[in-house]
Structure formats: C-alpha cells, structure tokens
Symmetry: C2
Subunit: 261 residues, 2 copies
Amino acid sequence: MIKMRNIKLTIEYDGKDFNGWQKQPNRLNIQGEIERAILEVTGKEVNLIASGRTDAGVHALGQVANFKIDSNFPIEKMAIALNSKLKHSIRIQKAEEVEEDFHARYHCKRKTYRYVIDNSEQGSAIYRGLEYHVAQKLDVKGMQEAIDYFVGEHNFSAFKSSGTSSKSSVRTIYEARILEKEGERIWIELTGNGFLYNMVRIIAGTILEVGLGKRKPQEIPEIIQSKKRENAGKTLPAQGLFLVKVEYEKCEKSFAKTLAK
Amino acid sequence: MIKMRNIKLTIEYDGKDFNGWQKQPNRLNIQGEIERAILEVTGKEVNLIASGRTDAGVHALGQVANFKIDSNFPIEKMAIALNSKLKHSIRIQKAEEVEEDFHARYHCKRKTYRYVIDNSEQGSAIYRGLEYHVAQKLDVKGMQEAIDYFVGEHNFSAFKSSGTSSKSSVRTIYEARILEKEGERIWIELTGNGFLYNMVRIIAGTILEVGLGKRKPQEIPEIIQSKKRENAGKTLPAQGLFLVKVEYEKCEKSFAKTLAK
C-alpha cells in the first residue's frame, strides 16, 4: 500500500481567464483545472484546498494549496508535469511534500495582498488587465497616512461585503504600505492573518478616495469603529488585486511544538 | 483656411493583439486602428508615419509616429479623444504639435529596444505574453560580456533576416546592456541609430546561446565580421520584444541649426 502523501503547491495565475478559484460546474475555475491536471498526471482524484478562495478576476503570484494523494509520483517532477497539462495562465511554481497535518486553509498564516493602481494620464496598453487606472493625480502621502490606521487588530465589519459566512469580523493587519513604482504605478499592500470578503478591495477603494482628496486620512478610525459598510469607500474591481504570498512559517513552528509534546 | 499642423504621437501597444504596425487589408494592425480613430475624432483622413514598423506580436512602450492634418482639434484633448476610440491594447500616451519638418521615420534618432527573458523555473502565468521563457539558468555575466561586442558601428548583415530592402546594413549601437530584474527576469537592451529586420531578435537569440553555454562571448566579433546570417543565433519570438523609446532630441537640434542658417 502506498503511504498517503500531503503535497503543497505554490501557484501563480492570471485571474482574468477564470471565474475565480472555487470549483463550479460549467465555468472555468482554477481549482477545477488543477485537480484535472493532477488526475491526468497521477490518475488520482484529489481535493485541492487553497489558503482561501480568490474571486473571479483576482490574480495570484503565490497562492498556496494542498492535497492528499496515494501516489508515488516523484515530487521533483510534479510542478513541470502539472504545468504541461495546464493552460499557461496557471503555473505551478513549486510542489513540495509537507507534514501530514499541514492544511493550507486552517493552518495559521500571514497573507499579503497587493492592489495595483495605474496613475498615469492615459493608462497602460500592456498592463491593462493587471491594474486599475485612475487618471487624476493621487495624493500618495495622504494614502500612506490613511493606510497606517489599518494596522493592528480591528473589527473590519465596515470593510466586508455582505453575503459572507465568517463568524468573526476581527482580523489583524501586520503591515500596510503604499509603494510608488516606475511607470506611475501605486501599490497598496496589506499583510494580515486573514481578510474578509472583498476586504482588500474595499480598503483600497477607501484609500483611493483619500488619494483623490474626497476623504481625510483621519476619518479612517471612525469608519473602522462604525462597523458600517456604507461608511467605507467603493469596492475596486478585481483586475487590480493580487494575492502576493501566503506564509506559514510561524504555524509550522507551533505545529512542530505540538508534535513534540 | 486652416493651417496644416504636424502632430507627433507617443504610443504604447500590446503587440499580441495585432498583426504588426503596418496597414494591411482584413488584418488588425496598429497604424490602421489609429488612422481610423483620427478620422472618427477629426473627420480627416491622414497618413500616420511611424519611426519604423514593428512586426506582428512586438510590443511598444514608446513608439513615435506623426501625421499632417488641417484641423483645429485642440492638441491637449487629442490623446484622450483618440483613446476613447481605440481598443485598450493601444494607448496614445502623448500628442504634441511639432515643427512642420519633423518626420518620425527620416529624422535621425536613437531607438531603444528591450528583449525580456523569463528565467524562472516554471515561467510566469501573469506575464506569459510579454516575455520569452527559458527554464535553464543563464550565465548572465557571459551574456553581458557578449553584448558589449555589439557597441559601435558595424555591418550587421549576420543579424538580419532576408527579405529586407535596406540599402546598407551598417548601423551604430550606442549602448547595450543586460539587466537582471526581480522575478528572475533578464532584460537585453540595445540603443542604436536604427535596427535591421529582426536584428534585435537575432542578437537576443545569439546572446541567449551564450547564456546557455552554447557559445563563448569571444565568438561575437567573428560572427559580426562574417556577415553571414547562418553564423548567428536563432531569431527569438516576437512576444518578448519591446520598442521602449525613440528619441529625436539631437535631430531637432541639428534641424534647428539648419533653420537658423
């Protein structure tokens, strides 16, 4: 009998080609495509668990997912084998064998999201599907001041879309920053222990309104405290959002401790 | 009577959406699309002259073109008006009124091209149409050594595809460099007074062979001197090639001198 192995994948994808991560009938989705590739390569049906779903149109540079499989397929050949069965708009960047208890979703983690605004006058022809264009010159200093208020543990009810089933709206933001890039791009980056439905896109929309001079940075704490969605800014479109990375380092340590007991 | 005006456009485009710059019937091309937009905006048929044609699939960050027009359409609104009539894979970045003798093609100029190689193990999902993927780790130092031999005035017959009508194959390369970018990208950049048909893609293909260890940097001078296409490397695919910018500064000075006499 072949031992059950636990495989961790690090995945890049171009969200505009898919109706989001989650498997659903008759609509192209990332989970379904990768599960199909795994079946073609190993002959095994698996259940692929992501760190979290991404919506239709959202991109990933480093989504993480895992699956259990009873197959001896060599791990060092798995990424290239899966890629050979996948559209080029999904690339498995890494495949690793991990401890049997590793769980991409429930293991505690740090996730980093980036929202990309193209602040050039006319927008970009080449990167058009990978950013959100705003022609009016933004107040980047004000945006930086605004984003600093998000750091820490807060109830983010004002920054989630309805229709979510999360029990708690309390999340912790570890780091938040605005980066100015060549080509007049502005990156809004957030690292936290988890994000509510549409949370990054609503935070980005609120910070954008600060950049446009429609709100003051000092209004952010009140908006958070109000816990009311209507006090925050608009949800920006999916095309500018990237799941940059998911880090499990700390968790694996605490897991190792549990094992050692 | 309206005075004839000379308009200079700076244009960005995503080459994968077009069959190249040049106007041709029944095939989507950049020149034809922009001439159509100018007609829709101003009511005038014009002849748009580029600094040079780009082939099917080649991208531009800063192509330059000009056209003569007898229209009072306000220049400060022209870029945004043209963009409203164009697919988003073409963006007019700038429209300026220039001296009547400015000619995007015949005016002497410096052109900069970039060839982008993705040297990551699995390739990129997100930037897949904007680079050429090479999984084998490249010898970047060797590539830098190789590219230095191209600087200067040379007969580049070994680095042009047949079927070109240029009278002379002598061109001057002012600058040549290899840049390593985050995300394991390698940029091959060349600035010169002009480039023969497929010249950048053949130079990039030859330098890539140095990076792969198939050739030595020291072979480059012999290849140039041989003037034989079969001694150079392969023509790399169009998708990795960008026309970065076209500079006319020096020319405008010499033109100004001519006028002053």
